[in-house]
Amino acid sequence: MIDLTVIWAFIIAFAIFAYVVMDGFDLGIGILFPSFAPGRERDRAMNSIAPVWDGNETWLVLGGGGLFAAFPLAYAIILPATYPLIIAMLLGLVFRGVAFEYRWRDPSHRRFWDAAFTGGSLIAAMAQGMILGALLQGIEIDGRAYAGSWWDWLTPYTLLTGLGTVAGYALLGATWLVWKLDGEGQAHARKLGKIAALATLALMAGVSLLNLFVRPEYSDRWLTAPELYWVAPIPIATLIVAGFMWHALSRDRHSKPFWLALLLFFFGTAGVGVTIWPYVAPPDLTIWEAAAPVRSQVFMLIGVAITMPLIIAYTAWAYWVFRGKVGDEGYH
């Protein structure tokens, strides 16, 4: 018999991964924005994501809404547990979302909305990384409710996961710009990409090491046979991908660094998945305990089966429509 709960866990994981990489490069561009010169460079960086950012952010709604629908108990426990982080993330997204429109509407305050774009992106990225950290370090549950205090999420570990996410998003943003810009902008993005890659790898390594101590069951999973043989390829593959990416960033490659950064995030997500499995909120709540009843799972699965191929198709089409270097048109 097929386990619908497992299928749903993978669907939610896919939605979160899709969100992280797609909105990740948007937010990353926001984080890197101050390093671009006001005027044409900034306009181009912004314009490279203006047509797609809204679609990218919709994956966040699917991640949240999907968690609500498929694992309502997890949604009801994780969100109160990370309350200040969620609120900070939402307000950050408000600022950076409206900045896309506002900066063009009010040239005299463009610097302010550029700063709002950066600040909002930075706060949202940091909050998302800390939410992940808070989840991994464990959430205290009593009955069907969160039982901890409203500052439990703030620890050195979660600060590290937050910084790791910021660095990772910056890497995605930089590699996206390597792809979409040319000339000086591209050279600048290449430089930023290298810095962000180093920071990302260092922080990934740091978080991975701390994971072995943050909960004892995590070190069992990663360090004892026979699980060891199944999970060991993940960090090894991560290192190999990182090597290729560095190489691509050092050469005249355009889209390759971005795709490799994506792959890096894929292995990072897989690592998180292996660490947390089969819990949706460690240490007490498994995916089966939090799952919605079969009727809800089946009804939604039909919807996903029909709509997801269409969504992927028209999203890909929208990206295709705006393909190519930003600024090619009108200047050649």
Partner: protein
Amino acid sequence: MFEGTDAILLARIQFAFTVSFHFIFPAFSIGLASYLAVLEGLWLKTGKPVYMDLFKYWLKIFAIAFAMGVVSGIVMSYQFGTNWSVFSDVAGPVIGPLMAYEVLTAFFLEAGFLGVMLFGMNRVGKKLHYVATLMVAGGTFISAFWILSVNSWMQTPVGYEIGANGQFLPGDSWMEIIFNPSFPYRLFHTVLAAYLTTAFVVGGVGAWHLLKDRTNGHARRMFSMAMWMAALVVPVQIFAGDLHGLNTLEHQPQKVMAMEGHYESHPDGAPLILFGIPDSDAREVKYAVEIPKASSLILKHDADAPLDGLDTIPLDEQPPVGIVFWSFRIMVGLGFAMLGVGLWSLIARWRGKLYDWPWLHKAALVMGPSGFVAVIAGWITTEVGRQPYVIYNLLRTADAASPLDAPAVGSSLIAFVVVYFAVFGTGTWYILKLMSQPPHAHETGVKRGDTGPIRTAGITPGPTQDPGNLSPDSLSSIEYVEPQDIEPARKEDGE
């Protein structure tokens, strides 16, 4: 700060604040997306440039309103969990899937095609661009469909079972849950409200520019279109509202009692209280101006029919009467004022004076924002009127909240209030600034400096200007190139 404050009260205020603010934008963008689809459709059909000019004029406004709707909407999708976790846990299996369908069938559709709608005219050509516009408009409607189904289920819950763990579980039929008893009425009433809200905004903007220059052909066109909506759709809306009220009487009688101010039962025909001051301590409406037996006539279609009052309902199951009584009257009053403007415009049109009567234009201008006030008042009526329940008669709002302390909720409430007023106030200001520009020929679309995929005039060399130094004037000076002019060049350009 907030020590000793009731955390649940703060959570209620926060939800009411964020959802009210949020709904302003969809109320506008649902209607505006459809209006844009109509304008582009007319342009494709007739080839008249005035429709493309109006399309571009309103597209700039739509872009801002839509962005504000998106970011305030994301807040809503998380707030069920952050602040109403007990509700999320127990109702998740039933309403969660409906909201997931909203994301899958509506949000992705809108967001996926929005970029092409805003920036893609020169890249995909006229027909595909129109498809994108239709998808965005369709997405806004589908979104309304699902979220109103969720809201209606909470008002008139059916088709569920109660699980051993206390959760509401879906029964045999999802159709029964989706098409619950109040849903068709609420959907019809709300979508019409969104169309009318937009129509009165468009009419108000048209009127403003007619007052300044009654020969402006573009202003004339938008004013005329809006007044047709007012004349034709307001009567339908009043009829739909009446049906919705009768449905509420059947399923949520307390709400209607509060709307009517009926503290007492009336065995032989209830009066229609036009105005008065409800006093819930004295259990009476003071200084009431009433029409005898009219309420029974409206609600039961029989002047002598008995109507129960709040005296038949236990005190702890009654909604707050004052708020519901007043918000209902504001909504209905504005509805009839809209009807008045619509009829007035018909007379003016019949006399051939639609563009010549300044008092009509002034009235339309004043009524420009009336739709927003009416929809918010309507939502206050229906949401406060179902209290003290969040799932009607099954789960009390007070039992549905997250285990959060008052300082946490109080701090977030302050943050939301400050940020929303600053950010959305600014956005509204930008929209008003755009509206204050007279619509004209060769209207520019959504412009993004001199770079990128966002240029409307894509192939011809752009004007030289410092993109860091763009002013609205310099923007509107950019020459607009008709899409057909650049069609061949586009093909050459595309790989």
